[in-house]
């Protein structure tokens, strides 16, 4: 009997120990869970942080490689420099680090401007991947092919014997700019010229029965750098000044950047002016956008009103005989910020012609504005040519605008481009 009691007690004690051990194990399990939960949460946060940082750095590396390729890789650079919507792509996997990769797209948004989209990926373990995307807007740094402030520039040089800037009974006002000639500047027969900045000639300045004021704003145009001053202050024109360079323009080379090539790409090339006039009836008012090239002289006549948002170019002369031409930069598309009239011979605004807008006028030979009773001219930009002739009684107001001149010449000029790539905007995609 006592043996049985002792055995039962022993069994009870054994059960008691087991319960205690179970409780302890349960508590230890809970403690382990608490610590491991905390540990794994911290570990996950740390891994995510690392993944975010690494993928961001990879995306940045992709942007840098894209810029490097644009500067050094011929194919990538050609697309960037000579197309308006070219696309280049590349990727690396792995890139720089194990489990890291990046893929990059260079999408041109305009000529010599693009958006670089770079996606950096970093694999965290087997199941998760950190991803960061960066978008960068870049552009080829622009040079300043026309570094002067001449609203009218006469480059002089070979060609016709006379290569001067001539005013005949002409009332002319130049705001914010100068009058520059590599040869003579002549004010004759009652000309009345007010020039806000300087008058500089490579040889002589002749004022004959005329008034020439310079270095003064005779009518305040609101420019704080050139405050209004007294009437007729006069100035000493600068003579025998060093020659200045007429910026070259690529009219018709086979280079994709020439005016003709661009017009061909746009479907705006016309071998004859008749072909162009077929789409531009007499006495009509038409708006044209882009780059237009007429491969002979072009006469704007029969009351045509042409609103050119972009570039009008001709291999011959451009004459506004009986019509109106207004040239301005387009508000969208690849040629935003550029506008011009380019002729390999003369640009002439005739007596019954009207001209205005904001643009560069570039004549390989002569710019000429004839006298007119009905029309005045209010133009922003500049006239560049071998010589210039203005005769009254048309009032001519020219507001010098270096930006429109240089941005247009940057696209169509032959000045060497700088290798510098500008970063215009940088942003992250979420």
């Amino acid at each position: 009997m006592s043996k049985l009691k002792a055995q039962s007690l022993k069994q009870k004690k054994a059960g008691y120990a087991m319960i205690i051990v179970l409780i302890i194990m349960l508590i230890l399990l809970a403690v382990t869970y608490l610590f491991s939960d905390s540990l794994f949460a911290e570990l996950a946060i740390a891994r995510n942080n690392k993944g975010a940082q690494v993928s961001f750095s990879l995306a940045e590396a992709g942007v840098q490689e894209a810029i490097f390729r644009i500067r050094t890789d011929a194919t990538t650079r050609q697309k960037f420099m000579e197309t308006t919507n070219g696309v280049s792509t590349f990727s690396h996997n792995p890139a720089l680090i194990n489990n890291g990769s990046y893929s990059v797209t260079i999408q041109n948004t305009a000529l010599r401007a693009a958006t670089i989209t770079s996606v950096g990926n970093y694999r965290i373990g087997a199941l998760r991947t950190a991803r960061r995307e960066i978008k960068v807007g870049i552009a080829q740094a622009s040079s300043t092919p026309y570094p002067y402030d001449g609203a009218i520039f006469g480059g002089g040089g070979a060609g016709e014997s006379i290569a001067d800037i001539d005013f005949w009974y002409a009332p002319v006002q130049i705001f914010g700019g100068s009058l520059l000639s590599n040869r003579d500047i002549n004010f004759r027969w009652g000309s009345w010229a007010n020039i806000e900045k300087a008058v500089e000639a490579g040889r002589d300045v002749t004022v004959n029965w005329s008034i020439s004021n310079c270095e003064c704003s005779i009518n305040d145009d609101g420019d704080p750098e050139t405050p209004q001053c007294s009437d007729s202050p006069g100035c000493t024109p600068l003579e025998n000044q060093p020659n200045k360079t007429m910026p070259p323009v690529d009219f018709d080379s086979t280079n994709p950047g020439s005016i003709k090539s661009r017009a061909i790409v746009e479907g705006h090339y016309y071998a004859k002016q008749k072909d162009f006039k077929d789409i531009f009836p007499k006495w009509s008012d038409r708006t044209f956008t882009g780059v237009y090239y007429i491969d002979e002289s072009f006469d704007l006549d029969y009351g045509r009103t042409m609103r050119m948002n972009g570039i009008l170019a001709a291999s011959g002369s451009i004459n506004i005989t009986l019509g109106q031409l207004f040239v301005n930069p387009p508000t969208s598309g690849p040629y935003v910020g550029t506008a011009g009239v380019f002729t390999q011979k003369d640009f002439r605004v005739g007596t019954l012609g009207n001209f205005g807008g904001r643009a560069l006028v570039y004549a390989s030979n002569r710019n000429q504005i004839d006298s007119s009773i009905p029309y005045t001219m209010d133009f922003t930009g500049g006239f560049l040519g071998r010589r210039m002739w203005i005769s009254g009684f048309r009032v001519v107001n020219i507001h010098f605008d270096a930006d429109i001149i240089n941005s247009t010449l940057n696209l169509f000029g032959l000045a060497p481009t700088t290798p510098v790539i500008e970063i215009n905007h940088w942003e992250e995609e979420y």
């Binding site: 403690v31 942080n49 807007g137 215009n424 992250e428």
Partner: protein
């Protein structure tokens, strides 16, 4: 029996201490997370901005650091398809708010289409500045007990996160990459 009770009490003591440590760690982690989110969101937005409107001292020695910052949203407005919006980070109590707003001359301001949104400094024909309207106001982080900002272009963000028992200080610098 007594030994068993002692063992259970000791084990419970270990559990209790572990649980308290866990709670404390959890609270610290939560504070850290709030700080991390605040710093990351602010850094990212400042990195992309084109203009900071709030006048900030160059360093704390040059003036009192600002407790809020307002700047133009640099995200999704470039090249041409986006809209002009402004971001304001400020504290309300211990909540960090991120307010998105726009400026317009159109009335009512709240329903003005995005195409009419303008830069804050634009003036109308009567030389008036545009009205500002809030597009959204969201709490991005909690338990932020103080916020200080200073710097020009490189913005220093200094913040404290606190709960009943602990306070931690965090600081980072963010370069406004689009600021001219």
């Amino acid at each position: 029996m007594t030994i068993g009770a002692l063992i259970i009490m000791a084990t419970y003591g270990v559990y209790n201490i572990s649980y308290k440590t866990y709670k404390k760690n959890f609270a610290s982690a939560e504070l850290t997370q709030n700080a991390r989110i605040a710093l990351e969101r602010m850094s990212r937005d400042i990195r992309q901005t084109t203009e900071i409107l709030t006048a900030l001292p160059e360093d704390p020695g040059a003036g009192t650091p600002s407790s809020e910052i307002k700047f133009q949203d640099g995200h999704n407005f470039w090249p041409t398809s986006g809209q002009i919006q402004y971001i304001t980070y400020s504290l309300s109590g211990t909540d960090l708010h991120r307010k998105l707003s726009h400026f317009t001359f159109t009335t009512p301001c709240e329903t003005a289409p995005a195409s009419t949104w303008v830069l804050w400094s634009t003036r109308d024909g009567n030389n008036n500045l545009p009205a500002e309207c809030t597009d959204s106001d969201v709490v991005k982080a909690e338990k932020i007990s103080s916020l200080q900002l200073w710097g020009v272009k490189v913005i220093t963000i200094n913040l404290n996160v606190s709960d009943e028992t602990s306070t931690y200080q965090f600081e980072t610098k963010s370069l406004g990459r689009n600021i001219q």
